[in-house]
Symmetry: C2
Subunit: 152 residues, 2 copies
């Protein structure tokens, strides 16, 4: 693919998150804690044509190498995502997201009476199931629309 066809250009150093399901890029940014206010140089392509996914999203974060832990939470909303760590314009490492056992402080429990959603200094903690997540405090199970639970 020529540079002209790329929706977002190559980066010198940083992390490329590719093969995100179409329309999920903003949820990916939320889940890895990037909203632009930190000054990170970030490029995002949404609903880009893709052979494998039909339409895909792509996120490139310059100057920052995301850790495996940071990207693993992406498995909840972007299970097909691939992670490339780029150094001096070359792909130095390739990862796939792996489903973590647990996600901490990433999702908000939808149960309004859960201790994590009241005014207590308790971080949310969810066990990751085959097909969803389970709040470790109140046992609420969520299987759909996980993106809506992402903490702002």
């Amino acid at each position: 693919m020529s540079d002209h066809e790329l929706r977002v250009s190559k980066i010198r150093n940083g992390t490329v998150i590719d093969h995100i399901a179409g329309g999920q890029a903003l949820n990916v940014l939320a889940i890895i804690g990037i909203n632009g206010s930190g000054g990170d140089a970030v490029s995002v392509g949404m609903n880009v044509p893709s052979d494998r996914l039909g339409q895909k999203d792509i996120v490139k974060v310059e100057g920052r190498e995301l850790s495996q832990d940071e990207v693993d939470v992406l498995s909840l909303i972007a299970p097909a995502a691939t992670i490339n760590i780029v150094r001096d314009f070359d792909v130095a490492e390739k990862h796939r997201v792996e489903r973590p056992d647990q996600v901490v402080g990433v999702l908000e429990c939808p149960n309004r009476h859960c201790i994590t959603t009241e005014d207590e200094p308790v971080q949310s903690r969810f066990e990751v199931l085959e097909d969803g997540v389970r709040c470790e405090f109140c046992d609420t199970i969520v299987r759909e629309d996980l993106a809506k639970l992402i903490v702002d």
Copy 2:
């Protein structure tokens, strides 16, 4: 600037919102109602170096020409933004955002007792002031952090 230096590539047809203050791109998307789920092809560059602004954000929406009304609400968070309507890779129209007199349904009133924030079918409506906005229902004036009031 060469194609290689562009953070987000040229578009064939659509709208380019340039000279957004650095870090405000996601708020711009929220204010014009784009979250990716509509299938619009969108490219975003955040914290791109800029001669004029130091750092700027840029948003390109393919296949959609935003109206002057749609972009005018951007003046609240991106007063320096420039709008280019692109047709067949050429800039067909150039606009600046203009401060509208009123914004409807874009911001949520921070007053929890305002009728617009209770369970009533009433759209929010703010008068745009020189230095902020005023709720037309409860007269609450907001001067800072307008981005936090953007309706999801």
